[in-house]
């Protein structure tokens, strides 16, 4: 079962979010849960029982004082909640036929659904012929990463920012996203709690408390280079254990319940000064500068640098040698920002001068989106770099046209048009293959995109022999592109639902314990294709398929 919406927030936000949700919750009608016997006059039982035992996922020990809830997944209905005794047992009597999300929460554990993996879990179905009793609910304890941040002299670094990144799947593509932040205290100590299983990285940044980055006096033309001040220093953003580049960061694998000590040393290094001559009109009408750096493939603005402007030259201080992206925003006379110049450069330890001109290599991609129903679509599109870099969005104008400037490279084209998908993508002066546009320097690609309505849906059952297979990863893998994957986890009756499917040819497969597979990798996937079910989805199709479970 896929749980959409705020599931992720709920996992990290914990009890506070729960309280807020509760405050906002609007419950029409009775607030007392409706339960118990119904329609007593009919023959045979009309209600069922969901029962089981909550145990610690690591030790297997029963979990007492654990709050267990069931919530119907369809047709609304009230949430019911019980608390386990010392033996970890829970039971809900008088449950009406239907499908229920089973979840648990306990202090020291993550709020979680039954057999939860990422945003998927196994829902419990009650009806004749299905077992909903004697469930073992393995509740995964929170993991903790804690440590001390010190400087090169071994002194604690106060108020250093510690960021936790996690490897996540984004429709089949691995990306590393920020999940939590913490701040060190007077002892340099930080703690990140409520961590769920996965692959994590730590990034630590700060500014030496004694740093003196301001430039002294005039630019050095007259008396040559002034000697570098020993206090003109900065800390590089440092990735656990001691890397200064996110690509060299060491992953911290979390299986659940660990307590990991991760100490980091920040080494002060000589900072550099970059001088940027400003175009004449900016000196009058105002400007804004953003300095950005790439972290785990995401370009993000730096917040610890200073700038001064004198005689039409902006000086950036307090940064270290490295590769940076710069965005200079030009303000219109008395108005908001009118346009911006992007440029990038390698800053070295020899004092530098950079000129704010648009990258010569930037290419303007233009295009038009039409729709099958003849109406002009509204919304936007986005160019997402296949390797790394920031997403380049573009809004559609009244005629459905757009233009966007991007550096050369390969981009996935994403449609951001409500209720529609991109059915056909073609390009002049450029190549589109498998939804990827290759942008060459000096070209002027023109895209023609066709938007269409009618996402498909595939429902079905996972079987092991003639029995339904519960808690299995179900994957719909596109035949000819690397993006349009859909996933689900089978519920206790073996059922699954894959929605919002862009029409096309797919392979449907079900893999036991498939959650740890790198399933978007074709080499990994190929091993499972033999026992897969080919599916062709057309617009508005609602298909039903049965698939046999495979073991790893």
């Amino acid at each position: 079962m896929l749980r959409q919406g705020n599931e992720r927030g709920k996992l990290t936000g914990g009890m506070i979010l729960l309280t807020v949700l509760f405050l906002l919750a609007l419950v029409p009608g009775s607030m007392v849960p409706r339960a118990g016997a119904q329609q007593a006059g009919q023959a045979g039982p009309t209600t069922w029982r969901i029962s089981g035992k909550a145990v610690d996922a690591l030790s297997g020990a029963p979990l007492g004082r654990c709050s267990v809830e069931i919530e119907p997944t369809e047709n609304g209905g009230a949430t019911r909640s019980v608390e386990t005794g010392g033996d970890g047992l829970f039971a809900f009597d008088g449950v009406a036929e239907g499908k229920y999300r089973l979840s648990a929460s306990k202090r020291g554990y993550l709020p979680q659904a039954y057999e939860q993996h990422d945003n998927f879990s196994t829902a419990i179905v009650v009806r004749s012929g299905l077992e909903s009793e004697g469930l073992i609910f393995k509740v995964v304890p929170q993991a903790i990463i804690t440590g001390v941040v010190t400087d090169e002299h071994g002194d604690p670094v106060r108020r250093a920012q510690v960021r936790l990144f996690k490897d996540e799947d984004r429709a089949g593509i691995r990306s590393t996203v920020q999940r939590q932040t913490a701040m060190t205290d007077d002892r340099g100590v930080y703690e990140l709690a409520r961590i769920d299983p996965g692959n994590y990285y730590l990034a630590i940044s700060g500014r030496p408390w004694y740093a003196q980055n301001a430039s002294h006096g005039q630019p050095s033309e007259k008396q040559g280079e002034e000697p570098a001040s020993p206090l003109d220093v900065a800390y590089a953003t440092t990735f656990y254990p001691q890397a200064t580049n996110s690509e060299d960061a060491t992953p911290i694998p979390i299986r659940g319940g660990e307590r990991i000590q991760a100490d980091v040393t920040l080494n002060a290094q000589q900072a550099v000064h970059i001088r940027i001559p400003l175009p004449a009109h900016d000196q009058e009408s105002g400007f804004g500068l953003t300095v950005s750096q790439s972290i785990f493939g995401q370009v993000e603005p730096l917040n610890s640098f200073g700038e001064t402007t004198q005689n039409g030259v902006m000086e950036i201080v307090g940064i270290l040698p490295g590769h940076y992206d710069f965005t200079l925003e030009h303000h219109g006379p008395g108005g908001p920002m009118t346009e911006s110049t992007h440029f990038s450069g390698d800053v070295t330890s020899n004092s530098n001068e950079l000129t704010p001109v648009d990258e010569e290599s930037e290419v303007t991609v233009t295009g038009k989106v039409t729709s099958v129903d003849g109406k002009v679509p509204s919304g936007g599109i986005a160019l997402l770099p296949v390797h790394q870099g920031r997403t380049h969005p573009a809004m559609l104008d009244k005629g459905g046209e757009f233009n966007v400037k991007v550096p050369p490279g390969d981009y996935e084209i994403l449609g951001q048009i409500p209720q529609m998908y991109l059915a056909r993508l073609t390009a002049q002066d450029g190549v589109v293959k498998n939804r990827v546009l290759t942008v060459k320097a000096g070209s002027s690609p023109k895209l023609e995109l066709l938007a269409s309505r009618g996402f498909g849906q595939v429902d079905g059952v996972v079987k092991r022999g003639d029995q339904p297979a519960s808690g299995v990863m179900v994957l719909l893998a596109p035949d000819d592109n690397p993006f349009l994957f859909r996933r689900d986890q089978s519920d206790s009756d073996g059922t699954f639902t894959l929605g919002n499917i862009v029409p096309g040819r797919y392979r449907l497969l079900a893999v036991e314990r498939g959650w740890e597979l790198e399933w978007a990798n074709r080499d990994v996937l190929n091993a499972f294709l033999k026992k897969s079910v080919p599916v062709e989805v057309r617009a508005n199709d609602r298909l039903t398929r049965t698939v046999e479970v495979q073991s790893r």
Partner: protein, 533 residues
């Protein structure tokens, strides 16, 4: 920017302006001075021990770090003045005994003192000694603002996995800690439980039992919030259909709980969960842009409370008429009609309230002949008048019905105030000329005039440049309302509790009392008080 913001901003501005002023004064006579070496030492103000690796930042020289013995040296210094000294875990003692110039005692090393931070740390454990993770702990500090003592939030933190919290970089002062009300598990559980708020020290909230932190103190405080069963309180909001409602429960024993609430805006039904006890339930609701409010005293035994009917009513509005009496025709600026500068408002005076100020707003289309305004959105409670007219204007009188608002607080019950405020502003304010007695060398001086029998008038402050030996300094404070004042000269800035009669006692001997008359000029000669009186 509210009235209070403006005032405190002003005083910050004043403080900031002082330092450059000192430097400027030395630029003048520096040309006659030779370059000389300035050296000194940075020490811990409590232990006297040298502090290595402290950053010493003069105004005209690049900063340096002190060596292992806490020593620093600036060869060939000119116009030397210390702007800042810093080190994590310390505050710079800018005033008082530190000499910030290397000028006066050219051959003597200067001693700079850093005041160590205080730290409060501890654990929050349940009644079984198990750590409570993710519980909010709030740190409040007793501070004087606008002449009154207030408990103000200084910081807050979430407990970690071990239930630990830690507050650092604390100035010396009086503090108290409290934990937030927090659900333990689901509010839908058949036996819903919450951790009740606790305060530390147990009966804090009054000054005597507060945590008294001195510089360098590391104090451990452990809190044990009791686990309490929750009982449902269900009822209905009567009145207009509201967009949303916010519920707060003030405990009769102190503290406020924000309970988990289910509110159905279509029917007006609500249900919330509270531990047993006596509360004043407060409800804030919105209809379009208008605020509605209700209070209800409730008492919860060991059973659910049902069918509570709470009637919403609009918040009170008090009309304000301002009369200007221009009795001073001597100066140009006194002629200016100060329509939009005469801010006037009501400040919450209940000890449990936040001390918010509600300003009088002019109507959409102001009448040029009359200054008629209204103060809106007032919850039931006690209020004090605040007014900070631009000098030379001052508040001469303010009444609401038979209440003299220069002396008495006004209380608002329900949606109607029962009276309207009539305020008289005059511009025949008084001038106070002050001078400092000789023999108070080497110090910057801060002169305060504290109104003694008028709690609407605010304090006035002016500062001098650093005094040389034998210098006689003097100046004047203008635009003061006629009345009695206590005037003191201090060697440091301080938020003075001039509206707290009991606290003012200890300043009486340190200053001089003067009575100012309309259009009058009074003289006062002062001795500088060293340190806090």
């Amino acid at each position: 920017m509210g009235l209070r913001d403006a005032i405190s901003y002003l005083s910050i501005l004043l403080t900031l302006l002082l330092l450059p002023a000192v430097c400027v004064s030395q630029v003048g006579d520096a040309s006659q001075e030779d370059k000389h070496t300035v050296s000194g030492q940075v020490v811990n103000s409590v232990t006297g021990q040298p502090i290595a690796g402290a950053l010493v930042q003069p105004t005209t020289e690049p900063a340096v770090l002190t060596d292992r013995e806490g020593q620093f040296e600036f060869p060939d210094a000119v116009n030397f003045f210390i702007a800042d000294v810093s080190k994590p875990g310390y505050f710079f003692e800018r005033h008082g005994s530190s000499d910030l110039t290397g000028r006066r005692q050219a051959n003597q090393p200067i001693i700079l003192k850093l005041v160590p931070e205080a730290i409060v740390f501890g654990k929050v454990l349940d009644q079984n000694g198990q750590p409570l993770q993710g519980l909010r702990v709030q740190l409040k500090m007793l501070q004087v603002r606008d002449g009154l003592r207030h408990w103000e939030e200084r910081d807050s933190a979430m407990t970690n996995v071990e239930g630990e919290f830690r507050f650092f970089e604390l100035q010396a002062g009086k503090y108290s800690l409290s934990t937030a009300f927090q659900m333990d598990g689901s509010p839908d559980a058949p036996s819903a439980v919450a951790f009740a708020p606790v305060v530390y020290p147990p009966s804090s909230g009054n000054e005597e039992s507060a945590l008294n932190l001195s510089p360098g103190d590391h104090l451990e405080a452990n809190l044990n919030p009791p686990s309490q069963s929750l009982y449902p309180v269900a009822g209905h909001l009567e009145g207009p259909a509201v967009q949303g409602a916010r519920f707060e429960a003030e405990r009769s024993t102190g503290g406020t709980i924000s309970p988990a609430v289910r509110f159905n805006r279509l029917t007006g039904d609500f249900r919330l969960m509270l531990p047993s006890g006596s509360y004043r339930l407060k409800v804030h609701a919105f209809v379009q842009r208008e605020q509605f409010f209700a209070t209800r005293e409730i008492s919860i035994g060991e059973a659910p409370l049902k069918n509570l009917s709470i009637a919403l009513a609009p918040l009170a509005t008090v009309p304000v008429e301002i009369e200007y009496q221009g009795n001073n025709t001597s100066s140009q600026e006194a002629q200016a009609f100060p329509h939009f500068f005469a801010s006037i408002g009501l400040e919450e005076a209940d000890p449990s309230a936040l001390g918010r100020t509600f300003n009088a707003q002019p109507p959409q289309t102001p009448d040029p002949a009359n200054d008629s305004r209204a103060i809106g959105d007032l919850e039931p409670g006690e209020y004090r008048l605040v007014s900070r007219p631009t000098p030379p204007w001052y508040l001469a009188s303010a009444v609401c019905g038979s209440l003299d608002l220069k002396k008495d607080a006004m209380s608002i019950a329900g949606s109607a105030a029962g009276c309207s405020i009539h305020a008289v502003l005059r511009n025949d304010s008084a001038t106070l000329n002050w001078s400092i007695n000789p023999n108070s060398p080497g110090k910057q001086v801060f002169v305060y005039a504290m109104p003694l029998d008028n709690f609407v008038q605010s304090i006035s402050m002016v500062s001098t440049q650093q005094l040389g030996a034998g210098d006689v300094e003097g100046g004047s404070l203008e635009g003061l309302a006629p009345g009695r004042y206590l005037v003191v000269a201090l060697d440091h800035t301080e938020e003075l509790p001039y509206r707290e009669p009991d606290l003012l006692q200890r300043y009486l001997a340190a200053g001089k009392e003067v009575t100012l008359t309309a259009n009058g000029k009074s003289e006062v000669q002062l001795d500088v008080v060293a340190g806090e009186p």
